[in-house]
């Protein structure tokens, strides 16, 4: 390979004092700090960078920037790196993708010879039958697909997320974007200026001495302005409703990518233009480049792109590229000017460019530069609802109507000198700031604040004209060539697809996959639309452009996911549980003790002595006011009008569709004062649901609700010795006659005032649930453990509680019920009172009763008491599924397998034997029990 590095160039951004070593397909190469991977390789004489998707044709540099479809490479363990953009780093292992066994000798390049059979739809049409062979085809074809190797080990990389609240976001830091940012910032706006390249300046960076001087001046003003936050190597990926802007900040330091979600008051789009390749035979040969590639290689990286060049141009950019080449010592064999009737027919060469055919003549050349026009990247404008409008005279799409909070400047609007672009950008930036200030003032007015509202000048100024230059419509030569380099789609393919009936652009796109590859149309869409228009005999304006969708540039899944930020909740006793070796259980957002080593032993201790469990996650709502009984009557299915002070009642809530939603108990603590508990998982939902009824349906009810789930911790003291234990810590009278089952008292426990104590029996034992101010809960817990030593007190976890409630036959909403469980399926018909006035779910419950609920929760015991069917095992009748096991455990108290399950209505009668299908397919028999409770069905223990 020949050294192609030029002597120092005026605008070069490489540091010749900082050489960097790297490898290319195993071979050692050297570049400089500031090089892209591609420029360093090109400087070392590399011409071929990849093989194409379908035909495996050799491909070289086309654009030498982020949008180069031919220089997507594997770097270390990272596939699909845009090597025309990515900065070179020391020690990079760079390799080609989609080549086997090597870039030079690629077996799949045989596809070229059969290329005419590889028309769009070829794979679908050829391999879809015979159907049974498709998996085999698929395995082979997959090796033919694009893309590098991913490392399937867990990555150590970190990704981050950030929220920003700028006044103005400017997308693109070319001359107009920089000017817009400066003008907006000088008007007092907070600006985020986002540039896709590593450095700001846009096309000025590889321009003339005057351009470089203008860049230095603008860049200094941007850097000096503290109102501007400059993000380079970053991209505005999307614009959503309300100017919600996604910015992907690549490699910001410490993390690999950071996704910024910015609520911009205004957005200025200054994305410039993208140079279009030209469609002709041989347009993908290594050595064929767009003018921008040449200008970047020569001026930024001091790389000589070839030895002998032909330049085909329809504009001044082509002339500038030719001048750059001449200055770099490249022999410019001919400048073919399309405006003067010059005609580029085809390029030839076996593996790279050797001759160019123009107007009947052949010219030897290893470099062919085309400059045939521009595409406007209207992506962000489309996302704001704007439809681009085609200008025949300028041969490109231009922005359509825009909402007030989105503005556009620079090359997307028109062409001009640096001064004209800066003047336009400044005016747009100032107006963007004025509009942002107006919105800022409005938001300040709307936000309760003690600060006086700011005053700002919101008058908008006039914007100077910026018109697109006239440009000839130049899309395809008389020959056919590639339109989509990444997908290997030729102009011929688009025409034949249109002829096959895919005569709308969007259909043609989906059939041929043109514009659907890695470049997502940024490079190809102009040519694709023009050729589709040609094939269908319509104008480009009528054909319209394809839809640009977010994100504008590839975004990693890591960036979208961002940092892990899932909050969890701990009870005040959490550290005690951890210290005692509890196994943690994740229950919704709560971390709870599942057990302390021996759940069966914990059960036995509760049944024989006394245990304490932390039930702090219980949802708790403080309800006050005269209207509370009305509310309770409405949200629960049973009656609440005559619940005396000092009593507790159990209730079930059904949604309006008659489906069980939650259950819990409510204690009447004092005059117009109640405490409601909900299931742990239902706490938030019930709170919201009750708020809905109170605010929207019954504002006339006098009810004040406060959520106190976190304010109170809850401890359940359960077991025959629980009364003895609690009596040692409280003056509250625990006499079994006066403080009976389902009663509530308030008082001091362990010196803590205002505890709520109620007697309920989820475990089936005599038990007291104490709700204590959360800050004192650990003290109470430790006091109970201390005071009950001689009684054998021990903590028990969620698992022991689940076993005991199953022994007792208490269902858990969400475990034994699901989103289809009807009120009358619970098997507790006594808790549904249809003779009440209106209540939630009443009509459906009435119809359920009339029709029958179709299924029932029942207790079941396997005939073989040693078999515990897994939860969710099916209950079957022949080939029909007629129910399922919802809870099952080996009972340490009864020493046999016990279950709750749901069965079809005709199987609900006690004594019925049902078939339970185990997970291994074996069918076992189980008996439907008379009571839900397997243990102490009369409830003597909990009433004791």
């Amino acid at each position: 390979m020949t050294e192609m590095r030029l002597p120092p160039q005026p605008g070069e951004i490489i540091d010749r004092n900082a050489p960097l070593s790297f490898t290319w397909n195993g071979k050692p190469l050297t570049g400089y700090e500031g090089d892209t991977i591609v420029s360093a390789m090109a400087a070392s004489g590399v011409k071929v960078f990849s093989r194409s998707l379908k035909y495996h044709r050799k491909r070289g540099i086309l654009t030498a920037n982020y949008l180069d479809p031919n220089t997507i490479l594997q770097v270390n363990d990272e596939p699909n790196v845009r090597a025309g953009h990515r900065r070179l780093e020391a020690g990079m292992n760079v390799s080609s993708q989609n080549t086997w066994p090597s870039l030079e000798f690629d077996i799949k390049s045989a596809n070229q010879a059969v290329g005419r059979f590889l028309a769009p739809g070829f794979y679908y049409k050829t391999f879809i039958s015979p159907r049974p062979l498709w998996p085999a085809y698929q395995r082979v074809l997959r090796r033919f697909s694009h893309g590098g190797r991913i490392d399937d080990r867990v990555s150590d990389d970190h990704y981050d997320k950030r929220y920003a609240h700028p006044d103005v976001v400017v997308a693109g830091a070319g001359p107009a974007g920089m000017a817009a940012a400066i003008a907006a910032a000088e008007a007092g706006a907070n600006v985020i200026l986002v540039e896709e390249e590593y450095a700001i300046g846009g096309h000025l960076r590889y321009g003339s001495a005057d351009d470089l001087a203008a860049l230095a001046e603008l860049s200094a003003r941007v850097q000096a302005n503290t109102n501007i936050e400059l993000l380079t190597n970053s991209v505005v990926g999307a614009r959503y409703d309300g100017n919600w802007i996604m910015i992907n900040q690549r490699d910001p330091g410490h993390v690999r990518e950071r996704l910024i979600k910015a609520r911009a008051k205004t957005l200025v789009v200054a994305a410039g233009t993208i140079e279009r390749p030209y469609v002709f035979e041989g347009n993908d040969l290594p050595g064929v480049m767009v003018s921008g590639a040449v200008r970047r290689l020569v001026n930024l990286y001091a790389v000589k792109p070839g030895e002998r060049a032909v330049v085909f141009t329809a504009n001044t950019e082509g002339e500038s590229a030719a001048a750059d080449l001449a200055g770099a010592g490249v022999e410019v064999a001919e400048i073919v000017d399309a405006r003067a009737g010059g005609d580029l027919v085809r390029a030839k060469g076996r593996t790279k460019l050797s001759t160019v055919e123009v107007g009947g003549r052949s010219i030897d050349a290893d470099l062919l530069v085309t400059s045939v026009g521009w595409t406007t990247p209207t992506s962000l404008l489309n996302m704001a609802g704007s439809r681009p409008v085609y200008s025949e005279g300028a041969a490109r799409f231009l922005p359509g109507d825009l909402p007030d909070e989105v503005l556009v400047t620079g090359g997307m609007v028109g062409d001009g000198t640096t001064e004209q672009l800066v003047a336009h950008g400044s005016a747009i930036g100032a107006n963007a700031a004025a509009r942002a200030m107006k919105i800022r003032a409005r938001w300040q007015r709307l936000t309760p604040s003690a600060l006086p509202p700011e005053t700002a000048d919101t008058a908008e100024g006039s914007v100077p004209d910026l018109k697109p230059e006239a440009h000839m419509e130049l899309y395809r030569a008389s020959t056919h060539g590639f339109v989509d380099y990444s997908e290997d789609i030729k102009s011929k393919d688009l025409i034949s697809a249109a002829n096959e009936g895919y005569d709308l652009m969007e259909l043609n796109k989906r059939y041929t996959t043109v514009t659907m590859g890695p470049m997502q149309g940024k490079l190809e869409v102009g040519n694709a639309v023009a050729i589709h228009a040609e094939a269908t005999g319509r104008s480009i304006a009528d054909t319209g452009t394809t839809t640009w969708r977010p994100p504008y540039a590839p975004t990693s899944l890591g960036a979208l996911s961002g940092a892990e930020m899932n909050p969890v909740r701990y009870s005040p006793m959490h550290r005690w549980h951890v210290a005692k070796g509890a196994t943690a259980l994740v229950a919704g957002m709560w971390i709870r003790p599942e057990h302390y080593g021996d759940p069966a032993g914990e059960v036995r201790n509760v049944r024989n002595n006394v245990g304490i469990i932390d039930v702090s996650p219980l949802g708790k709502l403080d309800l006050r006011g005269e209207g509370v009984p009305k509310l309770l009557n409405f949200v629960y299915t049973n009656k609440w009008s005559r619940l005396p002070v000092g009593s507790v009642r159990y209730g079930v809530m059904c949604a309006e569709d008659g489906v069980v939603m939650d259950d819990g108990v409510v204690g009447h603590l004092g005059e117009d004062r109640y405490l409601m508990t909900t299931t742990s998982g239902g706490a938030g939902g019930v709170w919201n649901w009750i708020d809905d009824w109170l605010q929207t349906a019954h504002p006339e009810w006098d009810v004040t609700m406060t959520a106190v789930t976190d304010g109170f911790a809850s401890i359940n003291i359960a077991g025959p010795k629980s009364r003895e234990l609690l009596s040692r810590l409280t003056e509250v009278d625990l006499d079994k006659e006066t403080f009976g089952y389902m009663k509530v008292r308030e008082g001091a426990v362990a010196g803590i005032e205002d505890c709520v104590i109620w007697r309920i029996g989820f475990t089936g034992e005599l038990s007291y649930e104490v709700h204590v101010k959360a800050g004192y809960a650990l003290h109470l817990w430790e006091a109970l453990m201390e005071a009950g030593q001689d009684l054998g007190v021990a903590p028990f976890g969620v698992e022991a509680q689940r076993i005991m409630r199953l022994e007792k036959g208490h269902f858990i909403v969400g475990q034994d019920t699901d989103g289809l469980t009807k009120g009358f399926s619970l098997g507790i018909d006594w808790a549904i009172k249809l003779d009440k006035d209106d209540f939630a779910g009443k009509p459906e419950l009435e119809w359920q009763l009339a029709d029958g609920a179709r299924s029932r929760i029942v207790a079941l015991q396997p005939v073989d008491p040693t078999v515990v069917p897994k939860e969710a095992s099916q209950i079957t009748e022949g080939t029909e599924i007629v129910g399922r096991i919802t809870s099952s455990r080996m009972s340490p108290t009864l020493n046999k397998s016990i279950c709750l399950g749901v069965v079809a209505d005709h199987l609900k009668d006690p004594g019925t034997i049902v078939d339970v299908r185990l997970t291994d397919g074996e069918i076992i028999k189980a008996t439907v029990m008379e009571h839900h409770a397997h243990f102490d069905p009369q409830g003597e223990r909990l009433r004791g």
Binding site: G385, L446, T447, E656, D692, P699, W847
Partner: protein
Amino acid sequence: MLLIECPHCGPRNSSEFSYSGPIKPRPSIEGLAPEDRAEWRRYLYEEDNHAGFATERWFHVSGCRKFLNIERHSVTNEITSVLTVGEVS
């Protein structure tokens, strides 16, 4: 992401709110007969999916916890009015 101008909290992201669709009055259940099931179930399950302005119920669940009536265009997302339930403009 929509920006909703909460009358109590100021402009906030729509992710702070929960949404329950265009407001439908709950039919009176006074004397609701079996033959009224169809009407009740229309209320429960059927949505107009109207393209255009509708008054919707939003709940500022991660904010002031007020239920709001919001006039929103379902195609353009334009919001023309945000009122607390029970208030009139």
